[in-house]
Symmetry: C2
Subunit: 414 residues, 2 copies
């Protein structure tokens, strides 16, 4: 469960699975209250109520074609050489030897049991010739065929996509209850960090992580509370953390092992019980990650390196936010199987996240590892479109090996 | 190129490829003007400018580790049994036999060429013992290693995702130019259509298509102009179309072959030249699709059936909107290879879109066709998470066949 490593400050690293278990055992997920929104504002929101059909969909039998509604039996034996002649009626009941014109979607009139397609008929004055027989029910959408009254149409905890909106509209839902958006406060720490747009001091770099983390939060559907950049000073960090704890969760980056002093984890453990429950995870990149809970609110403390931040987010923030969103199932990135184009080594005992560029060539998917020495090179992420997880018991990936790739951007042709 | 079919109103169907060529040959893509937005508002927008690095990233050599910056040569031969003793210096230049403490991300001081990891050292007063040698450049992020000055960091026409925002921030871009959002006006037509939330008349159904099309537009990043529902009356449709043409494109559904009168295509051809350029496409579902151009603006006329609308959108609206967004490459849905779980038939001569439910089982992906008689059953889309395209020269899919599935929702385990 614990991996011993020779590194100051991290005598013990929790395995990823252990860290997840330990954190989610302790953290209490508080979902923001559900709100009612108009259907037109519900895209991508998470449904907070189970939608049960209050009536059959369609409500009544409807024509699935442009044509003529008839009693099926009267068409039996009809052919182009021996058409059946039927009288057109305008009233609603279709008797024997009668037909009523219907367009796609029209209710099938009383008395009729099938629809003859327009192309299999010929109109002559107020009569039609029917050239082909239809079976009972043919070209008819039966009531309840789409969704039956009382059936669960959409489950709670689903993220609403365009087709869900369509079904909800069909069922007459002009408003739906969705979960409120969880608020995630995002903070970058470090004396070497300057906010983009500001004047950098000597040795400072522009803040990357807050932009990446905020984007990842928004992508999932959380609201971001921007805490800005804090210097490595206890007072400043404490004050920002306090503000952040008014949100539903806090994500910080930097300061996990800065100056050997572990400023952030210390502050979090002092801020409230249980404080830090995980510090140091057997993953690469992302090892100096710390996970804590203060006043019942999750506080994720990510390292300073941007690539480490992205994977720490992937592993810890994504499942957390998915639960806070009210999703019934963790939302995983689109994935596919691809062949690794070259050998990659990984550290035994660590879960390794290998950035790859997936492309399609001759109908096959390939994953090309994007080489990177460290986890500070943000350009390695823009050159990648996915990643492969190498489990702890593997020393790497073999050339030609088929692996599951999780995608964070589009896949092109080679 | 043209497929002859026996159906009133559609003597000739254009193949999908022909329809696409014909439409995109004539249509003139007008991209909304670029606007400057703060980085924090740029997520998912399409970059309108090529971003060239104005300086090396990192600007200077930086430490990739917590440790001590040294001249690499002085560590050669060091071991735990025979450590090198170096004097700690606070000033900026590191001379021979000297070391300066650095944290990850700190600039490497003048004179130093490598960083010894903290764990390979022991501090004794104002000196350190170095237990392992480092090669020149070891544990150092060289200036320009991430992005070199003058290099293209992000190309124009890219949709900005969290990792792009990170790189732009690193490069000091607090504002970026993105393309304006194209406006798409969305209209549903048909006497049988009632707006959800309103009172339905006998035989009316709630509008599904406007909600689906609006959702699909928004998903791509277009703005929706809601034209509501129009009855099958020339005056009403003409008036709504006129309003819609103030937007950048119009998408309607219904009225493509209603009452045999092809109301929408007629109105569009009357509204301006060239009017309708495609009417009837050899695809299933989606056959009665019409494509037109009025006053230089694209007008897409989709059928009334919701499932047909989704696939017509996929085939015609998606590439159109991608171009209007300024994307340099059409954005395709995530896709994967999966095994078809059972045989499916398709119509020779039509491009057939088969709804499937993809699931993963024992590390393999499977695609289970979602059976559906017609294209009116919106619930078939909520039961699916992807689709397979059966080309015109195939009569279906075989059981066990490996096919490419395009995904419109998440994939779960079996």
């Amino acid at each position: 469960m614990w991996v011993l490593v020779r590194l100051k400050g991290f005598q013990e690293l929790a395995s990823v699975d252990h860290a997840l278990r330990r954190f989610f055992d302790v953290v209490e997920i508080r979902r923001p209250e559900a709100v009612s929104v108009r259907l037109g504002r519900a895209l991508y929101r998470v449904l907070a109520e189970r939608i049960v059909a209050r009536e059959d969909l369609p409500r009544v039998d409807r024509s699935a074609m442009d044509g003529y509604a008839v009693k099926a039996e009267v068409t039996f034996g009809a052919s182009q050489f021996k058409p059946k002649i039927l009288t057109l009626v305008g009233n609603r009941v279709v008797g024997d030897e009668c037909a009523k014109q219907v367009w796609t979607g029209n209710p099938v009139p009383e008395g009729a049991s099938a629809v003859v397609m327009l192309e299999n008929t010929k109109r002559v004055d107020d009569r039609i010739e029917v050239w082909a027989p239809v079976a009972p029910g043919e070209n008819v959408s039966k009531s309840g065929e789409d969704v039956r009254k009382g059936e669960v149409a959409v489950e709670a905890g689903i993220r609403l996509r365009p087709h869900h909106l369509g079904l909800l509209a069909a069922l007459g839902m002009s408003n739906v209850r969705v979960f409120g958006k969880p608020k995630v406060a995002v903070l970058s720490t470090g004396n070497e960090i300057a906010e983009v747009g500001s004047e950098r001091q000597e040795g400072q770099v522009f803040d990357v992580n807050r932009h990446v983390v905020s984007g990842l939060c928004e992508e999932l559907g959380a609201s971001v509370v921007d805490l800005g950049v804090a210097r490595d000073e206890r007072r400043e960090v404490v004050e920002k953390l306090k503000r952040g704890l008014r949100a539903d969760a806090v994500i910080t980056s930097g300061g996990t092992s800065v100056g050997g002093s572990d400023l952030m984890p210390e502050i979090i453990s002092e801020a409230g019980s249980p404080g830090v429950v995980v510090h140091g995870v057997a993953m690469r990149p992302g090892m100096p990650t710390a996970l804590g809970i203060v006043g019942g609110k999750p506080v994720l403390v990510f390292p300073g390196n941007p690539v480490a931040v992205m994977f720490a987010f992937e592993v810890f923030a994504r499942p957390l936010i998915c639960r806070m969103l009210g999703l019934s199932r963790e939302e995983v990135r689109p994935s596919l199987m691809a062949k690794v184009t070259r050998r990659v080594t990984a550290a035994l005992g660590r879960r390794t996240f290998v950035r790859v560029r997936v492309f399609r060539s001759a109908g096959e998917f390939f994953a090309e590892p994007v080489s990177a020495r460290g986890s500070s090179l943000i350009s390695t992420m823009t050159r990648s479109n996915g990643y492969v997880v190498v489990p702890e018991d593997r020393e790497g990936l073999e050339e030609g090996e088929a692996v599951l790739v999780l995608l964070f951007d589009g896949v092109g042709e080679a």
